[in-house]
Symmetry: C2
Subunit: 633 residues, 2 copies
Amino acid sequence: MGITRKLEVKTPVPVDIDIANSVEPLPISVIAEELGLQSQEIEFYGNRKAKVLLSVKDRLKDSPDGYYVVVGGITPTPLGEGKSTTTVGLCQALGAHLGKKVVTCLRQPSQGPTFGIKGGAAGGGYSQVIPMDEFNLHMTGDIHAITAANNLLAAAIDARNFHESTQSDKALFNRLCPADKDKNRVFAKAMEKRLKKLGIEKTNPNDLTPEEVNRFSRLDMDPAKITWRRVLDVNDRFLRKITVGQGPEEKGMTRETGFDIAVASEIMAVLALTTSLRDMRERLGNMVVATSRGGDAVTADDLCVGGALTVLMKDAINPTLMQTLEGTPVLVHAGPFANIAHGNSSIVADQIALKLVGPGGFVVTEAGFGADIGTEKFMNIKCRYSGLKPQCAVIVATVRALKMHGGGPEVVAGRPLDHAYKTENLELLRKGCVNMAKHIENTKLYGVNVVVAVNAFATDTAEELAAVKEAAIAAGAFDAVVCTHFAHGGAGAADLGIAVQKACEQQNGVFKFLYPLDLGIKEKIGMIAKSYGADGVEYSLEAENQIETYTRQGFAGLPICMAKTQYSFSHNAAAKGVPTGFILPIRDVRASVGAGFIYPLVGTMSTMPGLPTRPCFFDIDVDLETGMIVGLS
Amino acid sequence: MGITRKLEVKTPVPVDIDIANSVEPLPISVIAEELGLQSQEIEFYGNRKAKVLLSVKDRLKDSPDGYYVVVGGITPTPLGEGKSTTTVGLCQALGAHLGKKVVTCLRQPSQGPTFGIKGGAAGGGYSQVIPMDEFNLHMTGDIHAITAANNLLAAAIDARNFHESTQSDKALFNRLCPADKDKNRVFAKAMEKRLKKLGIEKTNPNDLTPEEVNRFSRLDMDPAKITWRRVLDVNDRFLRKITVGQGPEEKGMTRETGFDIAVASEIMAVLALTTSLRDMRERLGNMVVATSRGGDAVTADDLCVGGALTVLMKDAINPTLMQTLEGTPVLVHAGPFANIAHGNSSIVADQIALKLVGPGGFVVTEAGFGADIGTEKFMNIKCRYSGLKPQCAVIVATVRALKMHGGGPEVVAGRPLDHAYKTENLELLRKGCVNMAKHIENTKLYGVNVVVAVNAFATDTAEELAAVKEAAIAAGAFDAVVCTHFAHGGAGAADLGIAVQKACEQQNGVFKFLYPLDLGIKEKIGMIAKSYGADGVEYSLEAENQIETYTRQGFAGLPICMAKTQYSFSHNAAAKGVPTGFILPIRDVRASVGAGFIYPLVGTMSTMPGLPTRPCFFDIDVDLETGMIVGLS
């Protein structure tokens, strides 16, 4: 790439926000031009962020793609493995040190945790996306659009049920299809899909029989089977379970429901998996929000709100262009949960990026959680819908996390780290490498070359680092490389960049999925469970019933998105390393029909975080002299 | 102005969205340059919207202001008077037909009603702000920022109460001011304000006595006296009254509360009334969210969240530049409720606009509801905080609305309009003109010249229009002008523009407020009630108690923001014309301490609209061929 930025690296490494604030970002117009984007293909949001319009996909549809690299990790630990940091560092290496065209494709983080415990998600040290505050906060409003669309749909559900309960068939129909002064009525365009679903072929509302009027006008949603919840992008534990409709005007139609954090909305998963405006319109309309008293799935299009949802999401469908500390381009787009959803950034951003970098260029995208979840879903859900095939998968590992997988002592936030993690301990480390080995073996089955990135800490010894490399190669990795991008930026990941380049150039495996779609839901779940090392699967009664319902409703052909803890290959978060001899319990099975997957629940997933006694926001403020944000981490 | 756009007007007037879509907006960079904005003072959001940074206020602080015009109306009726349309039409006239520098300052509409009953708020016919869809939907994310900030504060309140209830003083303090490994503790900067309020002058947390630790660590909010509610920008009636905290992890700490629509948030009122980033930081921190069990006001700064709120609002403080159909500049910024808040667009937008147009130029801003509410609050709240003084107030009137004030028959949505409104009826009209006359008289008391804009309909007769003009002049209006900007754009308001220009140039009254701030709360309420024509005021017990509390807490010096129906000078919406002989009942009194006003409740105000059986969203969709939005009105 032509224009990049030279980093001046300090030791010890300053805190993230200080590094981010110390670098003046390049004008985003420069980044866009460098990537070959035309002026009508970008919309600026200030001069450090821009939306890239999907029209670029059409212009470049016949151009060949660049190399496609996915970054996963070993099974995560509370120690942090630095997956985002490695993704960014690798791209800084490829773009600013190895002269390659490169685009980093990242998820947009939820704003909620930024003010809670976790802090931001823009990478760290000298491998970050900037401006870090804009990345972590509103960005270009995509999550706000999701919140608005999600909650418009929720309001539409309760309002419809209310109006159905208080009106006769005739009154309902008169309002849905009002007569003009000559008694003429018309169906709204938005009603066509429902009419077709009901098998009503009449085009004049006045021709409907009373029975047809009844079926058309009443969605008859069972209040106990409304699955659509409201969302907010804030850590608000008191909204996890609430009762709505307690106002006197709602006439006693109270109902228990709750809020999830916004990124848990199915609309976020739709955004991540869609391939065009037309496709998004279809998926949003197909979202199932409730079951009727008669057992039918009720969709957003049944409520005639699919079009309005698309209108609210029409700008959000365009990825946001930002940059790394070294001035390489980043596309930030979509950030679905990695348990109840598939945890990967958007298909459209990857597609655009692959065309923009072209042959010999690199697109590096991060998958959520460990490779058992993130990379698996990347392959079997995201790549299935996109048609894209990666050449290389990176697996990020650290010495300390592998020691934990080898049986190292528990780590508790706030307490000093055990010396096992800070001094050489080859025995623990070698034992823990089995976890990495299993991720390598699983990932290789997709026909990609696997490169292990050993994210080095100052306390790691040369022997320890060598042991990890050795174990990785023994497990079939194409290469394993020690890197120091946190402390040194792209320069610290240059060897990793070279290894990834070779892995892409020399890839000759045949890409294949873990399971075909035309198997039954249970068979597909079984194959994924087997990849975890499970001896079998057991289903609760609810799960059995749901599988039966979804099969009857015609959704069995969807891919599977396991909602499992990220802290173990198994369902037991405490089982480190490579657990064996377990039966995977499926507590319940749910579906995101619009987004396009079935998600079995392996245990309980929290979809709304809380705030601690002293949240991050205690330290966050605007410096009134400079206008800069302070206290973000 | 140099660059404007020539309108080609069709008869009959097409629907709003078709007119809006038929005009290709000028690049917003052209509008900005034409206004004299420098490139570092604007941030583009696409090429049809831009944020104008507050730094322009500093650059131009010594430049003289242009003329300042506020547009109010007669008492509104369901017939619609066209106040926004007149505001836009007047500016199109001044800018595109009379060669003046002009900026229209408008409120940002709530997105909720766009999908409900009301439709958009960008003006109408050939007097509109474009792109109409972007104006009515996300715009530049300001309302989303308000939603995020409002709800972070709400989450902080419930989380804090939860943690206080489950922890000892010592445990709480240990978390609020954690000790490092040498047992050292520090106060966060955000804690300084609370320490000062508590009279604790110690700077080392370890020096606090157990009693001080208790007072410092416990806000001790009374759950029954938490007044801060959550908000969403959607018409969701089922959220009006809810119970939160019903999840098992919340340990039975359930509480009744509710959601308002986002624009009802106090943070919206803060945005509208603030004058700088520093001032906004102060106001956000001062917002009172609850009363403690000991009777003290608990603020956002007590929760240490004022800084984070400011961070979330730091882009929202910058007004958004858009344009009219004729290419004249518009600043859109803030849209507080006009009953529980003051219903005017932002101070900063007006301040910037007045500098940008300079001497001989015009800034035209709209006030919500009728002049009894919108203009009154413009003068006594907005101008009090801004220090700005208007020269001219426009009052918009229509023949049909005045007929209703004269005793015309009720108007019911969906039923044909009574012939009294469509054929000449000078008797009804003359009777109704008393309503206009009282608004003129009241408005003149501020020392401004009043111009009546008679927004003409095709069914109005020449005699009727003449009668309105005559009555206006008789009541003391500087001028009264018939205008047809809905059908003809700025050309139809050129005479109005000339009248407004003369009214500004010849203004020689002395600007004065209706009441001084240093009176008691009741005396101030009494003076406003008198301006409505009330014989007196009566207070409920709650109102008496609240007035006592606010006086004790030191808030009696704030201006008064009456939450009264807009449909009558009195509290009775059915009392048209000029009601007399009534006592104004004050049901309750509340305060927006951060925004800076006391608001007495005259009757019940709905702060969360609902969706009808067939909401607007049935017709809203994206045309997948063109990408254009259809069905918005």
